[in-house]
């Protein structure tokens, strides 16, 4: 589909064996889509194949099987590259340059007008105000992350692909990054966010894909993923009991009516019956073979 920013279908990436090393399947037959204006979380433990998938999406790696298309085009197409912004994991740039030099060169390579006020505003937006003429070799990991965000935002991309963008950041900077992600979505951009930070994904994402050992083990809207199917929380208090005496219990769908009847028969007052919602951490752990 031409209007869909990203379509991954049956993507497989096998690193071929060389010099006695065994071949290794990093990603195996994964499929998912990113819809316009959506923020998708891409989760998985270390070695799950997240960065490999992203590199296939960017045309840096050639898929061994399946396909990746962005707006119906192949990833290496120049029309695609002009529409995306990429924030790499642990970004590294030629450290003899300054952020202003980098922004000017990236703008020129992208055919954009690189005015100094615009570049200053961009640096200000990502929290690098006053650092524009400092050589990158003097930057911390977090500052390099901020610079990579500035470079990604420079072209006002239709899609942002972010690989662990907040890995090296402190909580305040993480909040600033989140705010920028939400601003970009409000502008109309689609965002693909790979992250280890489940709370971050839970806060900003509309949908999530969970990858485990190169396979797509869960995918869906966050509401669907977090809602425990056929499981309810029933809150009730015994007769004459104070609010502090409230009892909360989990009841499966088929047993719900019988349990409500028995609670009432015991003279308890039912306060609330609601669907059981799990945390993303619980979903993640159950999908990846951990607990619960």
């Amino acid at each position: 589909m031409k209007d869909r920013p990203l379509e991954v279908s049956g993507l497989t990436k096998v690193y071929r064996k060389s010099l006695g090393m065994k071949s290794f399947t990093a990603v195996s037959s994964i499929s998912f889509n990113l819809n316009p204006g959506e923020i998708m979380g891409f989760l998985g433990p270390n070695g799950a194949g997240k960065t490999t998938t992203i590199k296939c999406m960017l045309g840096l790696l050639k898929p061994s099987g399946g396909s990746v298309s962005l707006w119906g085009l192949r990833p290496a197409s120049s029309r695609v590259r002009s529409r995306i912004g990429y924030v790499p994991e642990n970004p590294d740039y030629e450290d003899s340059f300054t952020p202003m030099e980098f922004l000017a060169m990236f703008a020129s390579m992208r055919g954009l007008d690189a005015g100094k006020p615009g570049m200053n505003a961009l640096l200000d937006r990502v929290g690098l105000n006053g650092w524009g003429t400092t050589r990158i070799r003097n930057f911390s990991k977090g500052m390099r992350q901020r610079l990579s965000l500035a470079l990604a935002l420079q072209s006002k991309p239709d899609m942002l692909i972010m690989d662990e963008p907040t890995g090296g950041l402190d909580p305040i900077a993480r909040k600033e990054f989140r705010d920028i992600i939400l601003e970009e979505r409000a502008r109309g951009a689609s965002i693909f966010l790979s992250s280890h930070l489940l709370s971050e994904v839970e806060t900003v994402c509309d949908r999530a894909v969970i990858l485990f050992r190169g396979r797509n083990v869960r995918e869906g809207s966050l509401v669907d993923l977090l809602t425990r199917e056929d499981s309810y929380l029933v809150s009730h208090i015994p007769p004459g009991g104070a609010a502090g005496a409230m009892i909360e219990e989990t009841v499966s769908g088929p047993a719900l009516q019988a349990r409500i009847d028995s609670i009432r028969a015991a003279g308890n007052s039912i306060i609330e019956v609601r669907q059981d919602i799990r945390s993303l951490e619980e979903v993640f752990l159950s999908a990846t073979g951990g607990n619960p």
């Binding site: 690193y15 590199k55 960017l58 045309g59 840096l60 790696l61 050639k62 290496a76 120049s78 590259r81 995306i84 912004g85 990429y86 790499p88 642990n90 970004p91 590294d92 740039y93 030629e94 003899s96 340059f97 030099e101 060169m105 990236f106 020129s108 390579m109 992208r110 055919g111 990579s148 470079l151 990604a152």
Partner: protein, 252 residues
């Protein structure tokens, strides 16, 4: 398209100029010129012949060393330090990356060879000798030879490591200077195969013009033109092969 390439070439140029490599190159040029400048103190006959002979040999060797020194580590460094990822992921295609990097390095190499040529001219003038008219076109030819070697180094850098790149380039440089007879003598059991192979391999002996210049023999302009075109065509061929290899590479 070209604006992107030229911007990236400018970035490569700046990056190379900021690296310490450039200081090393400058020191080697200075030392070589100083050494050549000492030739008259030996009181040899045919002083200008010696100066030109050593000088042009130095320029050719410089072209080779500059190609290896400048280019063998560009792509491996970009890959190891992951500086290539943000560039190749978004603003640059692989072709633009290769051409941009090549142009940046080629400019530095050409500038270094030109400075060396000017130094050689100054030595000749200081010692009261005439500067041969063919020295400038000869230097231009050596610059083209240097660019060809640069393309070879880029080609090797996409599928081998820097420590292997240098000996492989050197081997190609030596082999490409050989005559057909010399080349066939390497493996006389298959003369037909060796002759064909020699035909395909580059003929860099066409750039070896120091002897006629040093001995004051005139070189026709058409020779410079044809040798230059041959060098540029082979350079373009090597860059195309390098790009074909690069396009198959995964950037892990």
């Amino acid at each position: 398209m070209m604006r992107t390439v030229f911007t990236f070439a400018g970035m490569t140029l700046r990056s190379l100029l900021r690296r310490r490599t450039i200081y090393g190159i400058s020191i080697v040029i200075m030392l070589a010129l100083f050494g050549i400048g000492q030739i008259p103190s030996f009181g040899v006959e045919g002083e200008s012949t010696f100066i030109l002979d050593f000088g042009l040999f130095g320029l050719e060797l410089g072209a080779l060393l500059l190609a290896i020194g400048l280019a063998s580590n560009i792509y491996p460094r970009d890959r190891e330090q992951k500086t290539a990822m943000p560039l190749l992921a978004v603003p640059l295609s692989r072709g633009q990356y290769l051409i941009g990097r090549f142009l940046g390095a080629a400019l530095v190499q050409a500038a270094a060879l030109l400075v060396s040529c000017i130094g050689l001219m100054l030595i000749l003038v200081i010692h009261g000798h005439a500067v041969p008219g063919d020295l400038i076109p000869a230097t231009a030819l050596l610059i083209i030879e240097g660019w060809f070697l640069l393309a070879v180094v880029f080609f090797f850098s996409f599928w081998t490591s820097p420590p292997l790149n240098a000996p492989m380039t050197l081997l190609l440089f030596i082999v490409s200077q050989m005559s057909v007879v010399q080349f066939v003598s390497l493996y006389p059991q298959a003369p037909g195969l060796m002759r064909t192979l020699r035909l395909i391999l580059p003929h860099m002996d066409v750039f070896r013009i120091k002897d006629p210049i040093a001995h004051g023999m005139g070189i026709p302009d058409v020779y410079f033109l044809l040798a230059g075109l041959y060098g540029l065509a082979y350079m373009a061929f090597m860059l195309s092969v390098a790009l074909a290899v690069f396009r198959t590479r995964d950037l892990k």
